[in-house]
Every structure is written in C-alpha cells, then in structure tokens.
C-alpha cells in the first residue's frame, strides 16, 4: 500500500465545487484518482525541468524574457506545464496494471497527479490562465507558469474563476 497522499475523483469534484463556486467547467475531473505533488519541488525543481523541456523548441523569447508569445500564450503555458508533470508521473511509474498485479510495484499507482489548469478574469476586459494545485490541507495554491512562482489572486480574481480542469 502506497503512503502517497491521493484524492479520488468524487472527492476532488466536491473540493473544486467548494473552493471555486463560480466554476462553470462541468466534468473537469477526468481521472479516477490523483497523487498530491510537493509544492516546494514544483517551484524549485520541476519548473526548471519544464524550462529545459521547452528549450528544445527554439522559438525565441517572449514578453519579459518569459516563454509567453502570442501563439504560445498563458493557456498553452498552463496546459504544457500540466502535461509535463503528467509525463514525469508516467515515466516514474512505468508498470502496467497487469504488471502491478504480478508484483511489479510503482511508487504511485494513481492515474494522475494533482495539477490543474484554470481561467479567471484579471481585468474587466481580459482573462488569464494559470495552474492550480492543492496542498496537503486541501488549500488551493495558484502557480504562474510564465515565471515559475506561486502567486496570490485578489478576491475579485478568485471570484471570477470560471474554468477549472484537472
């Protein structure tokens, strides 16, 4: 039995409904269970790995030396960071269900890792997309994939969140 903290899809749906009551994304939870990721590792290590992953694409620098570009913007950064973390999870846990049944254990048997993408309004006329995580106490933590830092959202920004997907 793994000692990694996980959350089942039904519980995650409840948590999303409770935490983001303005969310309009229906069925934004698509895997059966999710493993919690260490948030310090996300900021200190995983983000560097993500930047190295992106570096194979030589499409130049975007705004303020970030990877943001008009044709690779906020939701692309958020989605690609989510996919990168899921690739690491799949790479680190390669055994199939049948192999696990025959004793070849993965460190985590969760279908996915607990990283989401979300949209909110950052002004009256513009929207933004970032990543969202939950800490071990199920508090939401907002991550700006453009700069690799956890950020705080204003009350208005939090109340404007209309799309959350894990």
């Amino acid at each position: 039995m793994s000692d990694i903290k996980t959350i089942k899809s039904a519980a995650l749906k409840e948590l999303i409904d409770k935490t983001f009551p303005s969310n309009k994304r229906v069925d934004g939870v698509t895997d059966s269970d999710y493993a919690y990721l260490d948030l310090e590792w996300i900021e200190n290590d995983a983000y560097k790995g993500y930047k190295n992953w992106l570096s194979v694409f030589d499409f130049g620098r975007g705004v303020k030396n970030s990877d943001w570009k008009r044709n690779f913007d906020c939701e692309d950064l958020a989605n690609s960071f989510k996919i990168y973390l899921r690739l690491l999870h799949a790479e680190a846990n390669p055994s199939t269900m049948m192999e696990e049944l025959s004793g070849k254990q993965n460190e985590s048997s969760s279908e996915s890792v607990l990283v989401g993408t979300m949209f909110f309004n950052n002004s009256n006329s513009s929207a933004h997309s970032i990543n969202v995580f939950f800490d071990a106490n199920d508090r939401p933590k907002f991550f700006e994939p453009m700069y690799g830092k956890f950020i705080n959202l204003t009350k208005d920004e939090r109340e404007s969140i209309w799309y959350v997907e894990f």
Partner: protein, 38 residues
C-alpha cells in the same frame, strides 16, 4: 563515446544530458508528512 567526448570538447548538449535535465523524479506528498509549509 566519441560523440560524448566531442560534445564535451565543443560544448554541445547530448541527448543524455538533455534527458537528465528534463526527466525528473516526481516528489509526492506523503500521507503522514504533508507539505503544509506553504
């Protein structure tokens, strides 16, 4: 081997170096020791 030496001499990144920097082992939260510091 030759490729690795040439890569070192000319400062060229090898696929192995790229993979080392990109394919990281995820750090998960343990049930008993949650990462609740933030």
């Amino acid at each position: 081997m030759v490729r690795r030496i040439l890569a070192k001499v000319f400062g060229i990144k090898t696929l192995e170096e790229y993979k080392q920097k990109v394919i990281l082992k995820p750090k998960y939260v343990k049930k008993s020791h949650g990462s609740a510091k933030r």
